[in-house]
């Protein structure tokens, strides 16, 4: 009945709809072509052009042969992975707890946890400086306690790792929370009443249900930390990541060829991470057992052994 009611209206819709929206989208298409396609294509072309205007992979080779740039790329990648792992470690249990919150506590906690999303990276850099910088709180506390200042962490790798963690945490938590809230509490209850231990329920019911969200959060976190510039620009003294070199080559040294090549390498790394996460998620979904079956299996497995 309802299908019959919908199909004629659809046919009529098709008669007047398609051309008008497409025409209406033309300004957006023009803008995207002018502001994205043209600049990025010319950036790519320039990165593949040698000094005499010939085709050359030189700039790309330089990134992988010059130790300075290779280190920066390596730092970017492992900093992104390490901070994402840290963020997941905190956000996974936290999301499970937050999904259970109700009432006013929930409102306040929500507000506090989403607020950092509206802060620019530079501000997060400053946060690390004011906490762990040369005249930061940690230094003052160390001086007061031991009489001499401790190690200054802010401007090197530990400071950067903390800063990345700070801007990733709300992003990862946000992605995981939705999944944690969508988790059917009955499944956990069923598995528990059938005799599965909490640990067992966590690993066989809860975590598998969250897997797609975990991959999505990982992809998001890695991509956002690979491209982070403001945070490192405010912080780093000596510790190099690729965005710093891109900025330096692009502005001060006016070497757009190398800056372009570096940007493309960075974008490709980010793309590979996204694709890997997508593939992993799809693989999981194909091999996924129905959640209810795993809940029962978790419980009965625990009991029969």
């Amino acid at each position: 009945m309802s299908a019959q009611a919908i199909s004629p209206s659809r046919r009529q819709r098709r008669r007047f709809a398609p051309t008008i929206p497409l025409l209406a989208a033309i300004p957006a298409i023009a803008l995207l072509v002018l502001l994205m396609v043209v600049p990025l294509c010319s950036f790519v072309i320039r990165s593949l052009t040698g000094i005499d205007g010939e085709f050359s992979w030189g700039s790309y080779q330089e990134i992988f042969t010059e130790p300075r740039y290779r280190t920066a790329l390596f730092n970017s990648v492992w900093l992104a992975i390490a901070s994402t792992a840290l963020a997941l470690l905190i956000a996974l249990p936290a999301a499970l707890h937050l999904a259970r919150l109700r009432g006013r506590t929930r409102t306040v906690v929500d507000a506090v946890l989403t607020f950092p999303l509206s802060l620019p990276g530079v501000v997060i850099g400053f946060f690390i400086i004011v906490m762990f910088g040369r005249s930061g709180l940690a230094q003052a506390a160390m001086t007061a306690l031991t009489g001499e200042p401790g190690l200054v962490l802010a401007y090197a790798m530990p400071g950067l790792l903390l800063a990345y963690l700070y801007f990733q945490l709300p992003r990862v938590l946000g992605t995981l929370r939705g999944a944690a809230e969508a988790l059917d509490p009955d499944l956990v209850t069923v598995a528990r009443t059938l005799g599965a231990s909490r640990t067992r329920v966590t690993f066989t019911v809860v975590l598998p249900a969250l897997k797609p969200a975990i991959f999505a959060a990982t992809a998001l976190a890695i991509a956002s930390s690979l491209g982070a510039y403001g945070t490192v620009a405010a912080l780093s003294e000596g510790f190099r990541v690729l965005p710093l070199d891109i900025a330096e080559q692009g502005t001060m040294l006016q070497n757009t060829r190398l800056a372009g090549a570096m940007s493309i390498v960075l974008a490709l790394v980010s793309l590979i991470s996204t694709l890997l996460n997508d593939a992993a998620e799809r693989h999981m979904r194909r091999g996924a057992k129905p959640a209810a079956a795993t809940a029962v299996a978790a419980a009965t497995g625990g009991r029969t052994s």
Binding site: A28, I29, P39, P120, V130, L137, R198, Y229, T300, S305
Partner: protein
């Protein structure tokens, strides 16, 4: 059934029994601890920034030289200059996004043509490419637009547009909405009337939250902004960066505090809207 049969082999026989003997409250404690750690991590730097902004001489340690409102007062002038530029840029960005983005979202939601996949990919592209790359590419291609501030708005439009289409296109594709519009059309309502009385009320919540999102993103944008901004008219994040690099810690802290004061209302509004949307969908 086979699943159940496979299960017993994996765990050791002693493990579940031991788990059952463990006190029940153990795991909630772990998850609650992680949640409060996340809250603590989010709040601590803001509180320390507040402390630094109120400290007369931060180099003598927290509250060195006593409490003062000097920094908060002195940085206010710098804050308002950056604020007006940032608000202006964010409003222009939002206006252009709505004018060109709503038709685009409409096209995404209502048409099925082969080129649309490419277009969708193109709209999302600025999210995949690092902001610095977009900024450098823009300034290398259109250097003459930088001093007028047009390049900055153009850059912000490009990076915020995907958020508008992502929020609005799914709601526009809603089958109920399509049927309602069709009913209105058969009853004789023209396009303008349909849009204002049927479509707009239906997409109101997601449109509003997308608008707030775009405003916040443009307001706080730095990675791209730093390379395409007119140096004579810095936005708030750019002047914050200047204060962090060259200024006094307390002055920078006070400016950061003002920034937080400026974004709190937007953040609160976004959250309220999100809750409204959830309530409606239920």
């Amino acid at each position: 059934m086979t699943l159940i049969a496979q299960r017993p082999a994996s765990p050791g026989p002693a493990e579940p029994a031991a788990a059952r003997r463990r006190p029940r409250r153990e795991r909630p404690w772990l998850t609650a601890g992680a949640a409060w750690l996340a809250v603590g991590l989010a709040v601590a730097p803001i509180l320390v920034t507040l402390l630094a902004a109120l400290t007369d001489n931060w180099n003598d340690g927290p509250l060195g030289g006593g409490v003062t409102l000097r920094w908060v007062g002195e940085s206010f002038a710098e804050f308002t200059i950056g604020l007006s530029t940032s608000v202006e840029v964010a409003l222009y960005t939002l206006a252009i996004d709505l004018v060109i983005g709503l038709p685009l979202a409409w096209a995404f939601a209502r048409t099925r043509l082969p080129g649309l996949g490419v277009l969708r990919w193109l709209t999302g592209l600025p999210l995949a490419v690092p902001g610095i790359a977009v900024g450098l590419a823009l300034v290398a291609t259109y250097p003459q637009l930088q001093s007028s501030g047009m390049l900055l708005i153009a850059g912000h439009v490009v990076v915020t547009l995907p958020f508008l289409t992502a929020a609005v296109a799914p709601v526009l594709a809603d089958r109920d909405l399509v049927d309602l519009e069709h009913t209105a059309a058969t009853l004789g309502a023209r396009f303008g009337r349909r849009s204002l009385t049927v479509t707009l009320p239906h997409i109101r919540t997601s449109l509003l939250s997308a608008a707030l999102m775009i405003f916040t993103l443009s307001f706080g944008e730095f990675n791209l902004t730093y390379f395409i901004v007119n140096p004579a008219e810095p936005t708030l994040p750019v002047s914050l960066f200047g204060a962090f690099i060259y200024g006094q810690t307390s002055n920078a802290a006070a400016l950061t505090l003002w920034y937080c004061v400026a974004v709190v209302p937007i953040a609160v509004a976004l959250q309220l809207l999100g809750k409204l949307a959830v309530k409606r969908s239920k």
